[in-house]
């Protein structure tokens, strides 16, 4: 399976210009969605028929802190003028939707908030996603970002055969 990661504290704007550069909405995303977007770009950039709509690919994002970094920004804006742009990222599952929208994936999208990084639990949940017989591959990501500058961000592109072997 293909694996990519983004080092904690990396310049995400520079990385965006390097691996994508054609999706200005990136700059409106919270750090969780930015990391999910970039990890997926790194995973699938070389695929044939990129952006061809497909229903056989799932997006499964796991984290511990969810979207807490953005929640703090939104909470800070509330006494003055609550920001609609921050509000839309106050759900930890938005990242999986952003990835699906960008890549035209219409398969399962899920976001799990786990107590801690638990490899066995994570891959058990991934195997569950392949039980529908429609899913042939999945973008799987562990993205834990307690702040805008500190994170653990890893992603894998996995196929049905290697998960259900």
């Amino acid at each position: 399976m293909k694996h990519v990661s983004i080092p904690s504290g990396a310049d995400l704007g520079a990385l965006y210009r390097q691996v994508a550069g054609d999706y200005p909405k990136f700059f409106k995303m919270d750090v969780l969605s930015k990391l999910g977007f970039l990890l997926t770009e790194m995973l699938v950039a070389d695929e044939a028929n990129r952006f061809q709509p497909r229903e056989d690919r799932a997006v499964l994002v796991f984290s511990r802190e969810g979207c807490v970094a953005n929640d703090r920004h939104y909470a800070a804006s509330m006494p003055d003028f609550p920001s609609p742009a921050l509000f839309v990222y106050t759900l930890p599952n938005i990242v999986s939707g952003e990835i699906a929208i960008r890549n035209k994936y219409a398969g399962e999208t899920s976001a799990y908030v786990l107590e801690k990084y638990d490899e066995a639990q994570l891959w058990a949940l991934v195997r569950e996603a392949f039980q529908d017989r429609c899913t042939k591959s999945a973008v799987v990501a562990w993205i834990d970002c307690p702040s805008d500058t500190v994170w653990k961000a890893d992603a894998w592109l996995v196929g049905r055969e290697e998960i259900l072997k």
């Binding site: 704007g13 200005p24 700059f27 409106k28 003055d80 003028f81 920001s83 609609p84 742009a85 839309v88």
Partner: protein, 86 residues
């Protein structure tokens, strides 16, 4: 009016995170929404409503009203000039 248009462009670029864009990149009369011009979306409308209230004391009653006001930078500047409270 040109000064106000430029000021609004700077505020819009900052409020909407229009990375890498300068006031010169925004045509005064180009539509702000839809496929042409800036291509802003419905969340951006809400951010622009907040921007008007925060900076100029203008309260728009509904997002629909915003659609008229935010047709272009020139239209927005005319509205701000006529209705600003600060």
């Amino acid at each position: 009016m040109n000064e106000l248009i430029n000021e609004l462009k700077l505020k819009v670029i900052e409020a909407l995170n229009l990375e890498g864009m300068t006031p010169e990149d925004i045509d005064d009369n180009a539509p702000l929404f839809g496929d042409q011009g800036l291509g802003l979306d419905s969340i951006d409308v809400l951010e622009l409503i907040v921007l008007l209230e925060k900076n100029y004391g203008i309260r728009l009653a509904t997002p629909q009203e915003g659609k008229e006001v935010f047709k272009s930078m020139a239209v927005m500047a005319e509205y701000v000039a006529a209705n600003r409270k600060k």
